[in-house]
């Protein structure tokens, strides 16, 4: 899209048309109020709590001011957790980037055989949430009875793969965050103009030199964007270190926050301070991203139609495919196999690897019992309601924000955009606490209802919603609407008749994205749910903590199946792009 609109005359006219109305003042105030409620107020409550000796509870006097929570960040355990967080996140991101980037490159720019399999490998793990992935790997790679280790042992291979370690956490991060890198990179690679590479080759550069001096610099912004995205996501990830690290006494900042809130004696305000540390780290990353990507627009990525040139892999064609298949096996097939095994066995003791295939030990009892389990049914319904409501209300709100920022000349647009993007750097685990403390104090009957979850998700996924709606709106040049306005239509009419039909697919895709994100959400919900408002991720987590493996595996499978159906349906009908 062109950077600057030449339509100053039209802007002037537009200003004339709408500038005098009440809307010019009412709308920004209303949006600001909504954003304050959704983002600033909960975040402020959290910051306040980190300086108090007791969490802010409505009705009770405010706790005393203290710096002890921040002092405690220098405890040996806290420092270790912070180091672990940083190390696991960086290592996990590097591997995720390598896997996702390689798959994206193979798919877009090489002559690897069986491309549909490579494409599948790139996105299929998305319907396995990191919680399910971690649970599945506890079954696959626990040192003594993990299925992989059992197979290695029976084959006489003296190697034990222990998932309850730092490297185990990094491994699971890499597997389940690679798709994010893949999606980020494949777009850039597919749109890259091959003429530059051809020019280099024409001047005598070797393939490797072309990759190093042309291709790599061209995709650097995408690589950086993907890298920072995975860094942020792994840094705030709670389920993986909780499931794989905590049992071995290995903590990260998110699992430490969780322990401080949930254990006895609880230290919620210290958790808030740890949350601030995480917030600063994440903010730093987002700021770095902004700095790196500034003035680095994808100039080479013009919308021009061309077919990127494919690089012949020659002898590496089949090894490249094997890599994709191996990844698919590790990230999708083996986890599903492990979950099926656990869900279908009458009891979990497996004497050796071959007996995994002894059909007589199988039963549908656990899956049937799960389907019949009241809380599971309730959670399924709740998840669907919350997902649909978030998709509808969230997207409507995100559209309003995006339209306001991208299409109007009203005041406070930069501030509104900034606040809308803020949640990207707020760790989801603590913002749930912020919502709880902030909103319960208000005379609003939302606590204990599904509404609080819809509001929380709308706030938490605002950056994703806002960005995906904005990209859709920006694809349609404002001249189209403006000509309607010049021809006498009202702005509302122009939006409805011109913009709406053009952006419908993009909005549908944004809604589906929000729906999926809401269906998978755990870290924020964990503080907000009540008996009647448990969602699927909560039930799964509860069962992981106090239920049986068979139940956990059954719920995981059903959960994956649901996400799979939604994703496939979404890709088919709505053309979902990216998560």
């Amino acid at each position: 899209m062109s950077a600057a609109s030449p339509a100053t005359a039209i802007e002037a006219r537009q200003g004339l048309e709408t500038g005098g109305g009440l809307l010019r003042y009412a709308l920004p105030v209303a949006l600001m109020l909504a954003l304050t409620f959704l983002v600033l107020y909960p975040l402020g409550t959290l910051i306040l709590a980190s300086f108090l000796d007791a969490p802010p509870r409505p009705g009770a006097p405010l706790g005393l001011f203290t710096l002890d929570n921040y002092r405690a960040l220098f405890d040996a355990n806290n420092i270790r957790a912070a180091i672990n967080s940083i190390v696991f996140s960086i290592a996990g991101s590097i591997f995720a980037l390598a896997i996702g980037g390689l798959l994206a490159w193979l798919l877009a720019r090489s002559d690897v055989p069986a491309k549909p399999i490579v494409a599948l490998a790139g996105v299929a793990p998305l319907f396995i949430s990191s919680l399910v992935g971690a649970v599945a790997y506890s079954l696959l790679a626990s040192p003594r009875s993990g299925f992989i280790n059992m197979a290695l042992g029976d084959l006489g291979i003296p190697f034990v793969f222990d998932i309850y370690t730092g490297s185990g956490i990094v491994f699971v991060f890499a597997l389940f965050y690679a798709p994010y890198a893949f999606m980020f990179m494949s777009g850039a690679l597919q749109l890259m103009n091959p003429e530059l590479e051809e020019a280099a080759e024409a001047h005598g550069a070797t393939r490797i030199e072309v990759l190093r001096t042309v291709t790599f610099p061209l995709i650097k912004p995408a690589l950086l964007g993907a890298g920072i995205l995975t860094l942020v996501l792994t840094l705030e990830n709670f389920p993986v270190p909780q499931v794989l690290g905590t049992p071995a006494g290995i903590e990260t900042i998110p699992s430490l926050i969780f322990r401080n809130v949930m254990s006895s004696p609880a230290r919620p305000t210290q958790a808030a301070a740890s949350g601030m540390l995480l917030l600063v780290l994440m903010w730093l990353l987002v700021w770095l991203q902004g700095r790196f990507l500034r003035n680095q627009a994808f100039h080479t990525v013009t919308g021009k139609g061309f077919r990127p040139k494919l690089m012949p892999l020659k002898a590496w064609r089949w090894p490249a495919l094997a890599f994709a298949v191996l990844y698919l096996a590790l990230a999708v097939i083996l986890p599903l196999f492990a979950l099926l095994q656990s869900a279908l066995r009458s009891h979990s003791f497996v004497p050796n690897f071959l007996s995994l295939f002894d059909v007589s030990a199988f039963t549908l009892r656990h899956i049937a019992a799960t389907l019949d389990y009241g809380p599971f049914q309730g959670a399924l319904i709740n998840s669907l309601i919350v997902g649909v409501m978030t998709a509808l209300a969230g997207t409507a709100f995100h559209f309003l924000l995006s339209y306001y920022v991208n299409r109007t000349t009203y005041p406070w647009r930069p501030a509104i955009e900034y606040i809308a993007m803020m949640p990207v750097a707020v760790p989801s685990l603590i913002i749930g606490m912020g919502f709880l403390w902030a909103w319960i104090a208000l005379p609003l009957p939302i606590y204990g209802t599904l509404t609080i979850l819809v509001l929380a998700y709308t706030a938490r996924f605002m950056p994703q919603g806002f960005r995906s709606v904005s990209s859709t709106i920006l694809q349609v040049h404002r001249d189209l609407e403006d000509s309607a306005i010049v021809a006498g239509a009202t702005r509302g009419r122009a939006v409805m008749d011109i913009l709406a039909p053009l952006i419908r697919p993009g909005i549908a895709s944004a809604m589906l994205l929000l729906f999926l994100l809401a269906m998978r959400e755990l870290s924020t919900s964990v503080f907000l749910f009540t008996a009647e408002t448990r969602v699927l991720a909560i039930i799964l987590y509860e069962q992981w903590e106090s239920g049986s493996w068979a139940r956990v595996a059954s719920i995981s499978l059903l959960y994956c199946a649901l996400l799979f159906v939604i994703t496939v349906a979404g890709r088919k009908w709505v053309g979902l792009r990216g998560l």
Binding site: A76, P143, S264, P265, F349, G448, E532, S548
Partner: protein
Amino acid sequence: MAMKHVVKAALVAAGLMAFAGPAPAQLVVGGETIADAALLQAAKAEGQLLYYTTNLEDNERAALEEFRKDTGIRFEVVRLNGSRMYERVMTEAAGGKLAADLINLSDFVLMQTVVDKGILAPHRVPQWDAIPADLKHPQGLWYIENRYAKILGYNTARVKKEDAPKSWKDLLHPRFRGAVGIQEANSGGIGWTTAMLQRQVVDPQYWQKLAANRPKLYTGLTQASEDVARGELFVSEMLPAQGRAMLDAGAPIALAFPEEGIPASAILAGVTTTAKNPNAAKLYLNWILSKRGGTVIAEKFLDWPTHPEAPAPALAKYNIVFPPASKLWMGDKEDWVKLKDGWIKEWDQAYRSGNR
């Protein structure tokens, strides 16, 4: 169970109606009066009960299901571990939004804070006189619903008979390195009581010694018991009911009562002042503290009930005899409160020392 939960009084009332008009029906089970007519009617009119519990969810549901059979009152359960439940109750209550009719906690100290905040309403159960003073609040703000104990369970396919663990000390043996499951000291009353027993009774350096043997840490022990069943762990702390579940599933598992002491903790339950269904909540307290309720606790929970005439838990099917309640180690009450914060910090240092 051969027990018939005949609400005889209903029939009696029907008989009486001929000359005396509709007489109120009491809840009587096995000859024991559990509720008078007024409470029963009011509870039935409410028809439902929301219980915030720290007991194992399956256990609490099983008891409530028996209660439903006796009274027709439906239920919903929120299960959280002790500290999390406390945080939730305090936050909800502060916002005037406490949803529970009945709550329980596994910690005397936390329950006292709940009492101090005026969250609990007094209720006098019919069995008041039979319940020993240390198992109830003097004003009836809470009662001990059940006392639960932690024992050891081990995988008989992985541990040779002569190596079977019999004591807490046995867990320090190198043969169990990396294959012991324990509960975190900070998760609920029993976790802390166990840590205290290990340090006060077994060995002042027990935590450091066990940490050196690289145990696996759990917040809840259901998974630990499953990990013993699947052979991932050789031995783990577990609740008797968790062990029974594995035995019933046919897993190669055996239970042991550690020689130095069986740590136990109490679940304290009380009706909330803001209950939407206060009568159903009171009726449940009456019921669970009766001999009938106590029997359910002994049989379904494998916990020790409060009613003095209710039986002790037993697993006759597997030839497992449980010790009487008097053999449980609950720790000195003052120590339990006084030492908690500092010792749990030390516990965290011992087990999360990073060089694992």
